[in-house]
Amino acid sequence: MSLKYITPAERFKNYLPKDYVELVDYGPFGKTQEEAGPGNMGQFKELVEEHPMCSGCWMAYFIRLIFASLPNPQETVTLGTAGCGRLAISQAAVPFIYGNYGDQNAMASGLTRAFRLRFPEKTKDVVTIAGDGGTMDIGFSMTMHSWIRGEKFTTIMLDNEVYGNTGGQSSGMSPKGAILKMAPKGKDFEKMPATELAKAAGCVYVVRLSPTNIKKAAKVIRRAIFVAREVGPTFIHAYTSCNIEYSIPTEEVFQDAKDKEKTRFQFDEYMTDAAKEVIERVEAEEKAARVARKAEKKEAVN
């Protein structure tokens, strides 16, 4: 139903907003990653276009990348909470649920189970996308409990190491010593070990990254979603700097991301055996499908 649900009747198209019609015709719904994926962002109608994020915002870029990487956008629901991220996520062309403060993983627990009872034969992807405060401070218990309970959905933490949306307060994910609002003498305890907590709590696929490489970032986002479908909770911890609160000149945002990749955001990918099995199987299937499509194309040309 889901693709049909998005697609309007041909004659009705005349009466729909142009933006919507373009999304159906030129967006990523029902398309492959080669047709409309991270590799050709800017060349198709993307799920995220307008957003009110600051100029040079690395988080806005990563959110755009998340949506371009979704394996099945027409069957995906996202959830989030207060923070900069939701300003862009709520304007993506994918259903977005905004509840209360830090409750995204609790809501996703209910949503995922209810989807599975209503649509046992279908795959609905549930992805929570929240900031470091929403995921690791105010939402900490709900995040941890969803992992401990083994809930089958993906958690993505947009870590800008600060409460950006409320004006630059220190968070649990801010580095020790950072002078921020509410830490006027510098934060006096360490950055929380989010990926270690995720592993301890039972996440079956955990990645820490600074998304400097589009292909690599897209690959791990997709892996996290594939594994969550079958095995258990998955977690992506991504560095998405706040150039405003950390005073990073716009032209240095990318360099900053590369620098962080060498320090506290070193790439780390963890997976259980069961997760690995799913990844190998799905990626082999994807590869086979790619090869088949290429052969088909070649055949058509000849």
Binding site: M1, L23, Q91, I97, D103, L117, R118, M142
Partner: protein
């Protein structure tokens, strides 16, 4: 979610009018907690989420049992009430029928999520098995938590006894899901006095249940990528500007409170109306809800035996509050006595606000902290109101 080995049950599915008014009933002697769970059993609930707190726990244990017996499709124990109530909100977006319950401090812990259910148009049913709100700690019945729930837009019913608990819990599912309502319904009753005490309950057959939840009929479509119209968020207007944000919030909240008002006709349809009036010609009325209404009923019975001219008004619906009905029923009254199980007297405040002559309202008697409400205290007020002597012996 391993393979489901629970039995597959065959039930006759019926509408709420048939279930409440026509279906055969058989009398059982059960606790209030059992009555609530038995109602859930007959409501084709898809999913229930439990978190323990005394005195609610018994209800959600029993709901767990009926899940294991195959009456409910999904059930789990959450880790605290904010997570529970948020998960209910999340599950509701998938288009399923939901139930949970809590008590006193648990209600307050979950309140941030619960008070957003009406705004999120979550038509879940919430059992409120009343209990003291700390501090000092007490686990005893006291319905002060209901005062905190009264201003969020949810429909609130208050059950006097085990029979009410059964009927109101069933009716709550139908009321919540009406197209012109579609907000949560809370069914409150006193912890221990009702939940842990047995009473006679006329129950419908176990193999007959309410029609399944119909997500297609919902006025607010599920976010399931299935139910049209397509709900893909290209443009979140609330985010656009402060002007749009307060405009949208205000019209949305108006709609919620209008929905709350529209629930009244269904309270008439399923429960016979928001109030029950005995001896409508009386000068003096005892006005009460929940367990206090049971005590008020007993005082009223004594008064009848003594030949005193006293009426009884039982309030079934706290939200929407029956302003017109109470005003009409008390238009010739000289005194209204409002006994309550809480210290602030929220029902008293509501009654005073509903009538043009609030001075006729006697503030109490009230008990709190979980003690019982002696009928003698109500009798004393009745005698005072009638200008008669009463030798109060407790």
């Amino acid at each position: 979610m391993s393979s489901d080995t629970r039995p597959k049950l065959e039930k006759k599915l019926v509408d709420m009018n048939y279930l409440l008014k026509e279906a055969p009933r058989e009398q059982h002697f059960i606790t209030g907690a059992q009555a609530m769970a038995e109602a859930v059993k007959r409501a084709s609930v898809d999913m229930a989420i439990a978190y323990p707190i005394t005195p609610q726990s018994e209800v959600m244990h029993l709901v767990g049992d009926i899940y294991a017996q195959g009456h409910i499709k999904e059930y789990y124990r959450a880790e605290e009430e904010l997570g529970t109530m948020s998960a209910i909100a999340g599950a509701s977006r998938a288009g399923v029928r939901l139930f949970t319950a809590t008590s006193g401090p648990g209600l307050l812990r979950g309140l941030e999520a619960i008070v957003s259910w009406p705004g999120h148009r979550v038509p879940a049913v919430l059992g409120v098995l009343t209990r003291v709100v700390n501090a000092p700690l007490s686990i005893q019945p006291d319905n002060i938590e209901m005062a905190y729930l009264m201003h969020c837009g949810a429909v609130m019913l208050h059950a006097e006894n085990q029979q009410d608990t059964f009927d109101m819990t069933l009716a709550a599912f139908a009321i919540a899901e009406k197209v012109d309502v579609y907000i949560p319904v809370a069914v409150a009753t006193e912890g221990f006095f009702v939940t842990h005490a047995k009473g006679y309950v006329d129950m419908t057959p176990e193999d007959m249940a309410l029609n399944e939840f119909d997500p297609i009929a919902a006025p607010v479509p599920a976010m399931d990528n299935e139910t049209p119209p397509a709900r893909i968020q290209r443009d979140a207007p609330v985010q656009k500007s402060n002007f749009m944000s307060y405009l949208i919030h205000s019209v949305w909240q108006q709609e919620i409170w209008d929905s709350n008002k529209r629930a009244m006709k269904y309270i008439y349809e399923y429960l016979g109306g928001p109030i029950e009036v005995q001896n409508p010609e009386s000068d003096v009325f005892v006005v009460a809800s929940g367990c206090a209404a049971a005590q008020a009923r007993e005082a009223w019975r004594y008064a009848q035996e003594d030949g005193l001219s006293v009426g009884l008004i039982k309030v079934r619906s706290i939200r929407p509050f029956p302003i017109d009905e109470i005003r009409e029923a008390t238009k010739n009254a000289k005194k209204l006595i409002v006994p309550e199980h809480n210290i602030i007297g929220w029902l008293c405040t509501e009654v005073k606000a509903a009538i043009p002559n609030g001075g006729i309202v006697v503030e109490g008697p009230r008990v709190y902290g979980g003690m019982t409400l002696p009928v003698e205290l109500i009798m004393k007020e009745i005698h005072d109101a009638l200008g008669l002597e009463y030798d109060l012996k407790l």
